[in-house]
């Protein structure tokens, strides 16, 4: 992707994702309030926060299925408001609330979405993903009859169809057993190390976040309260671990974090 001659866009091209001053309001309700952050290539950023904090609103905005009230979103330097299709060509996602059509088989779904993302050569890529996610035996099974763990694997296979530069994962391991979840985490980690993919990862499993994410953003009431390394952040704020830090922030969301964590 090319960022063009715009200096701001050129700077943003260094990031897999660049969000600036993002706001989303529904009438009087502010779901996202002046949020700015970046995701670098080969970086996994955790987007954390209690239910209703605005995580899904941010993800939907990045996926261009929700228009922000104000602010800008650039994927690989490409402004999603101006060049939606180009920006999304190098993006993909998997979310528990966006299951694939249950009336198509695993292979049919991968071929269908592969065409939407203009994957070439499609047949080879589909076979690679079927092998990678051990879905070969399920290729002719309709997605509607799969277990939630199998569905998660199919959703992740679809999310990697186009070798995305930006991958959005909304609780990707929520339905997986611990062993499968570990495999998926290792696979995503390997993906970011091997290529240029940046990942925005939401999860309520703080152990997983601490294991996988290079950086976390704590979100509450639509605002980023805290940002940092998930391994050092709890200690810096007097919390024994990431989960305790999460709980403290979630219970006192409106005060500045420095005030109540000091």
């Amino acid at each position: 992707m090319r960022a063009g001659s715009n200096p701001r866009a050129a700077a943003a091209a260094d990031y897999a994702l660049s969000v600036r001053d993002l706001c989303k309001s529904y009438g009087e309700l502010t779901a996202v309030d002046h949020v700015s952050f970046d995701v670098r290539p080969r970086e996994i950023v955790g987007l954390l926060g209690p239910n209703g904090a605005g995580k899904t609103t941010i993800i939907n905005s990045v996926l261009a299925v929700l228009a922000p009230t104000s602010g800008s979103i650039r994927i690989g330097g490409v402004d999603i408001a101006r060049q939606r299709s180009l920006a999304l060509t190098h993006t993909n996602f998997a979310a528990v609330y966006a299951s694939l059509p249950g009336n198509l088989t695993v292979e049919q779904n991968l071929r269908f979405f592969g065409l939407l993302y203009r994957v070439r050569p499609l047949g080879t890529r589909v076979e690679e993903l079927l092998r990678q996610f051990t879905l070969e035996n399920l290729r002719h099974a309709k997605c509607g009859v799969l277990s939630s763990g199998e569905l998660t694997r199919v959703a992740l296979a679809k999310a990697l169809l186009n070798n995305p530069q930006l991958l959005l994962l909304d609780e990707p391991t929520a339905s997986l057993d611990p062993s499968a979840a570990r495999d998926i985490r290792a696979m995503i980690r390997g993906l970011t190390r091997a290529g240029d993919c940046g990942v925005l990862w939401t999860s309520h499993n703080m152990h997983e976040v601490a294991e996988v994410c290079d950086r976390v953003l704590f979100l509450s009431h639509g605002r980023i309260l805290l940002e940092g390394d998930p391994r050092s952040l709890p200690g810096e704020h007097g919390a024994p671990n990431l989960e305790e830090l999460f709980i403290q922030l979630a219970r006192e969301p409106l005060a500045h974090p420095a005030e109540h964590l000091a």
Binding site: N60, A64, V65, L66, A67, A95, G102, L104, Q108, L115
Partner: protein, 267 residues
């Protein structure tokens, strides 16, 4: 517009048709039922009328042309509803697929499936009841094109309506052809309609088709300019329907309706 995403929408429709007899059967079952029902009604009316009117062409011919229009419209809408039923909007519209590519895919799929219905219709009606559209001459192609065009336009508008009003509004889609048929003069000349209904009829391209068909079947002249006007009107209405869909889509993205579509409303 890029070919692969359009091909993706077509491939999805093919997968659904191939794997489901309940989707495949209605493509020709209703047409076959109409051929048989209206074929026998026409045959009976031919036997009791002494004025030499050919009811086979006038009634059966008109019913089947109307059926064709209905298939095209519902083909577009059903393709759209497949995504409603499988809650697939988020996956679709978070991909690089554009609205024009999506709608084009639905339209091509509908045209392809309705051609199957058209083939069955002709294969049954011609040998069984002696229906022939040959009397319509070269205008037949224009008549079919106008009905296809209006079916496409109405299918896009109906899809936009479901997108705007939510999944439960699906039931509003199915009666649309029945609501329009009195205005289109499928069975009678527009001259029998009151003035306000005639005014509405003049905005509906099929009304020109059925007036023209009746004229030609009764040995009267049907000005080419009339059906060309209908074709232009249908083309304009396709553009307006596309504009309407895009506006509704943008509204759905702006308000969050698309991201939370199953909730039906964001208020």
């Amino acid at each position: 517009m890029r070919l692969e995403p359009v091909a993706g929408i077509l491939l999805r429709q093919w997968y659904l048709l191939r794997g489901s007899p309940v989707r495949f059967l209605p493509m020709f079952a209703w047409v076959a039922i109409d051929v048989v029902l209206w074929g026998f009604i026409s045959r009976y009316l031919n036997s009791v009328n002494s004025a030499g009117i050919n009811f086979t062409a006038l009634l059966l011919g008109a019913v089947l042309m109307w059926d064709l229009f209905t298939r095209v419209m519902q083909g577009v809408t059903t393709g759209f509803l497949e995504d409603v039923w499988s809650r697939n909007f988020l996956n679709l519209f978070a991909s690089p697929l554009t609205v024009s590519e999506y709608v084009t895919g639905l339209v091509i799929a509908s045209i392809a499936t309705s051609l199957i219905g058209l083939t069955v219709m002709l294969a049954l009606a011609m040998p069984l009841f002696g229906l022939s559209y040959l009397a319509l001459g070269s205008q037949l192609l224009l008549f079919v094109a106008v009905l296809y065009g209006f079916g496409v336009a109405l299918g896009i508008v109906a899809s936009a309506m479901v997108l705007r009003l939510g999944p439960a509004s699906e039931w509003l889609v199915w009666p649309i052809p029945a609501l329009l048929s009195p205005f289109c003069g499928v069975f009678y000349p527009l001259s029998v309609l009151p003035a306000w209904m005639r005014a509405v009829a003049h905005l509906l391209p099929p009304s020109y088709v059925f007036e023209g068909m009746r004229a030609l079947l009764q040995g009267r002249a049907s000005p080419l300019s009339s059906v060309l006007f209908a074709a232009a009107l249908a083309a304009l209405e396709i553009l307006l329907a596309g504009y309407c869909f895009v506006r509704v889509y943008r509204y759905a993205v702006r308000t969050g309706l698309l991201a939370r579509y199953s909730a039906e409303t964001v208020s």
